[in-house]
């Protein structure tokens, strides 16, 4: 019998990026890289743990846009293309490198071939189904999320928009996983008082919150973040533990910064002579990351040594052991201090494991191997915890997020605030449309569906985040404007001169998310 619990929660999310209008599109690589480096490796780790008889329990969000993209035939086709190119490049690398780098190139070639076989033969291209299988086996609890990862605290002036983000997501989950979701990952862990009532109405039982959502709640929660709390509406909140967060996320002391781990920023796409890499860069001739990296982090200088996978593997195991040892100490201390079994909630972006931190999936596997030997801590999912421990404190959490400063500062910033006047009006217009059309004809019904899709896509928190972090700002800005303009064109058509079937068909072909969306979800209640 353990003295406490660890709830590992991985948030797998990608904004909906699908460009059928072009033969290839740079930003579609985000999904492809995540499949190769995170989703397939995690599934492989689950297989390994199962084969070894290691008990493991964790939760994962598969956000509706990610599910839609993983299920999309066009993107599946393009992913296989992408992987075949990677295999071709790795094969060329084996031929032109020597010594240790050639050995690394051979390993890459073998790995990419294995990933292709895993994707096509082991899973038949159906990664969502592969994760769903682990849910059916009881090892994994899959959470839902906001429909398009909209940051809900900044939508609270339009409750219909908040409700639509939640209900469309749940409907999508129900269709895909043939069950009701119990947990939700609020996009960016964004909560505001009153949101829990909407979640309750939608049948949600718990969500993950930022630590301060609980720590600053009223009345003061006596167990801090080491027990969930019930909101006034009865939906439970599991608060992020700052200690486990820092051990992984901290730029200074976090595990992923170890000198022996693979260096993310030294990619062959930028280091190889151009003629070697030319067939694999952007159509414009600009270089890009290709996903082949030969160096380890080494240190903070530009001088990088070659990667040693065996050393990195050992370090990942040591880090997993350290992580579990720290949780044991934490649980032992807290269970004495609190007089009950604490739960340590450790949520992370799934793509950290594998994409950013190459050895992350190995760490996850080793973490469960070490946990299996622990008599102090056991892994658990939030739903299983609530079933075992139904008594919790009732508090009112406050507005919070897991962004910098723990509030809404990241998503409402001078770099991105220009989007909100338009988003707010579009949300009100969508409710106006939903209220106005009692019996739409077939064309109007299609236009209403598409208008709902466009609004949801414009609301994705990813665009505001990217604008704030100043990375792919042109793309994020263009996506926001594109969806708002498409919404506006449909709105004008519906309330004014009629919908243009050619324009509607063109927009439908681009933005295919939620084919069964019910726009009536936007009606005033």
């Amino acid at each position: 019998m353990s003295r406490g619990y660890l709830a590992l929660v991985l948030h797998a999310h990608m904004p909906f990026i699908r460009h059928p209008e072009y033969p290839s599109y740079l930003e579609e690589d985000w999904l492809f890289e995540a499949i190769t480096e995170t989703y397939l490796p995690l599934l492989e780790v689950f297989d390994e743990l199962h084969r070894e008889g290691v008990p493991f329990h964790l939760s994962m969000t598969l956000t509706p846009p990610l599910v839609a993209m993983l299920d999309d035939a066009l993107l599946q086709e393009r992913y296989v293309d992408h992987l075949e190119q990677l295999i071709q490049l790795a094969s060329e690398e084996v031929g032109r490198r020597t010594g240790h780098v050639q050995w690394l190139a051979e390993r890459n070639l073998e790995l990419f071939r294995r990933r292709l076989a895993q994707y096509t033969h082991r899973h038949g291209g159906d990664l969502v189904g592969a994760f769903a299988d682990w849910q059916d086996r009881g090892n994994l609890e899959i959470l839902t999320c906001g429909a398009t990862h909209g940051f809900l605290p900044l939508m609270q002036s339009c409750p219909e928009a908040v409700r639509a983000q939640i209900e469309v997501a749940i409907d999508s989950y129900r269709r895909r996983f043939c069950r009701e979701p119990r947990g939700i990952w609020l996009p960016e862990c964004g909560y505001f008082p009153g949101l829990d009532a909407i979640l309750r109405d939608a049948g949600i039982r718990w969500f993950i919150g930022e630590g301060t959502a609980i720590q600053h709640a009223t009345p003061r929660p006596v167990y801090g973040v080491y027990a969930p709390v019930y909101t006034p509406s009865g939906v439970a909140v599991f608060g992020r533990d700052p200690e486990t967060s820092a051990q992984v996320w901290s730029a200074e002391s976090g595990y992923p910064g170890h000198p022996d781990y693979r260096e993310f920023h030294r990619d062959l796409g930028y280091t190889a002579p151009f003629d070697e890499i030319a067939p694999y860069v952007q159509p414009t001739g600009l270089r890009k990351n290709v996903g082949i990296k030969y160096h380890r982090i080494t240190g903070k200088t530009e001088r990088k040594e070659y990667y040693d996978p065996w050393r990195a593997r050992r370090v990942a195991d040591e880090h997993a052991a350290d992580f579990v040892r720290n949780r044991e100490q934490q649980v032992a201390f807290l269970s004495d201090a609190l007089g009950r079994a604490p739960i340590i909630t450790a949520p992370y972006d799934a793509e950290l494991f594998g994409h950013w931190w190459y050895e992350g999936p190995q760490f996850v596997g080793d973490l469960f191997r070490h946990l299996a030997r622990s008599r102090v801590v056991e892994s658990i999912t939030p739903s299983a915890y609530l079933a075992r421990h139904p008594e919790q404190q009732v508090v009112q959490p406050n507005l919070s997020s897991w962004g910098a400063n723990s509030y809404a500062d990241v998503w409402l910033h001078e770099s991105n605030e220009w989007i909100y006047p338009h988003l707010l009006v579009a949300a009100r217009h969508m409710t106006d449309l939903a209220n106005r059309f009692a019996r739409p004809d077939a064309l109007q019904d299609r236009a209403l569906r598409q208008a709902a899709r466009e609004l949801l896509l414009a609301q994705s928190s990813d665009w505001a985040f990217i604008l704030q972090t100043n990375t792919s700002t042109q793309y994020a800005s263009q996506r926001t404007v594109d969806h708002l303009e498409r919404f506006r064109a449909l709105y004008d058509g519906l309330v004014g001169g009629g919908v243009d079937p050619a324009v509607l068909a063109n927009i439908e072909a681009r933005d295919t998310l939620f084919p069964d969306i019910d726009w009536r979800v936007y009606r005033s209640r």
Binding site: S157, P279, G339
Partner: protein, 259 residues
């Protein structure tokens, strides 16, 4: 008759969700439905407007990347976002405990051009005033008191053109209220069977709590092992001794049962 594997492949090509869990009959039905919908279903994207993906075996992948930037769909020429909207509204977007941004739109026919103002209020108290001199605008307010309910109004000549909903600015630290209220909820039962606000159902503060002891437990729970020194005192866990905990839980479960 095609086997399940072939049907799954076909379902994949048609983008049928949930195919991995479908039995043969379900797969057949779903494929038939998808084929029927093609060309008429809105989100299925009209087949004639979608590019036909070339078979992988006939398209050298390396050349694919150099297919150029030729669009495969006709470009969309849509009107740019307007500078004003045919709607009048105002919304408060909280940024953190002390800052918020108010966004407003005033329908052009209502827009007075000058003289309209924005008022930020807490209850009936006016916290700040700013000019609303654009049909589509925003105004930043900082230095506010945390943990208060605020709203905004757009006013012209004493007439309220638009009023926002009330928004709660978050507190910037832990609550000073020490009234632990425990509840037991069965996750197997729908929440709809419970009262909408559990605090009211359970009644006011079921047991008085020692602020000092509560503070120690809270420190332990929020600062983790780093606070080991803080909680060595014996009275901290006593706040939630078995009897006390049981008393709290019982009262709440009972209240929920009645509700």
């Amino acid at each position: 008759m095609a086997d399940v594997r072939t049907l799954r492949d076909q379902a994949r090509e048609l983008g049928i969700a949930g195919r991995s869990k479908m039995r043969k009959a379900e797969l057949l039905a779903a494929i038939e439905a998808a084929l029927r919908q093609h060309g008429t279903s809105p989100a299925a994207a009209p087949a004639e407007s979608l590019p036909e993906p070339a078979p992988r075996t006939t398209r050298p992948a390396r050349k694919h990347r150099h297919a150029g930037a030729t669009p495969l769909l006709p470009p969309l020429a849509l009107a740019p976002l307007p500078a004003a909207y045919d709607i009048t509204h105002v919304a408060v977007l909280p940024r953190n405990p002390r800052e918020l941004v108010v966004f407003w739109a005033i329908e052009p026919r209502d827009f007075p051009a000058t003289g309209a103002r924005l008022e930020l209020k807490s209850g009936e108290r006016v916290l700040a005033v700013a000019p609303a001199d654009r049909a589509l605008g925003r105004w930043y307010f900082g230095g506010l008191q945390p943990d208060q309910a605020v709203r905004a109004e757009v006013i012209f000549e004493g007439r309220v053109l638009a009023s926002s909903g009330t928004v709660l600015l978050p507190p910037d630290g832990p609550s000073r209220l020490h009234q632990p209220l425990m509840g037991a909820i069965d996750i197997a039962r729908p929440l709809a069977t419970l009262p909408r606000d559990l605090r009211q159902a359970a009644g006011p503060a079921p047991l008085p709590a020692s602020a000092t002891a509560s503070e120690r437990v809270w420190q332990a729970a929020t600062t983790g092992t780093a606070a080991a020194g803080v909680v060595r005192e014996a009275d901290a866990p006593a706040l939630l001794s078995a009897e006390r905990h049981e008393a709290l839980v019982s009262s709440f479960v009972h209240a929920m049962g009645e509700a």
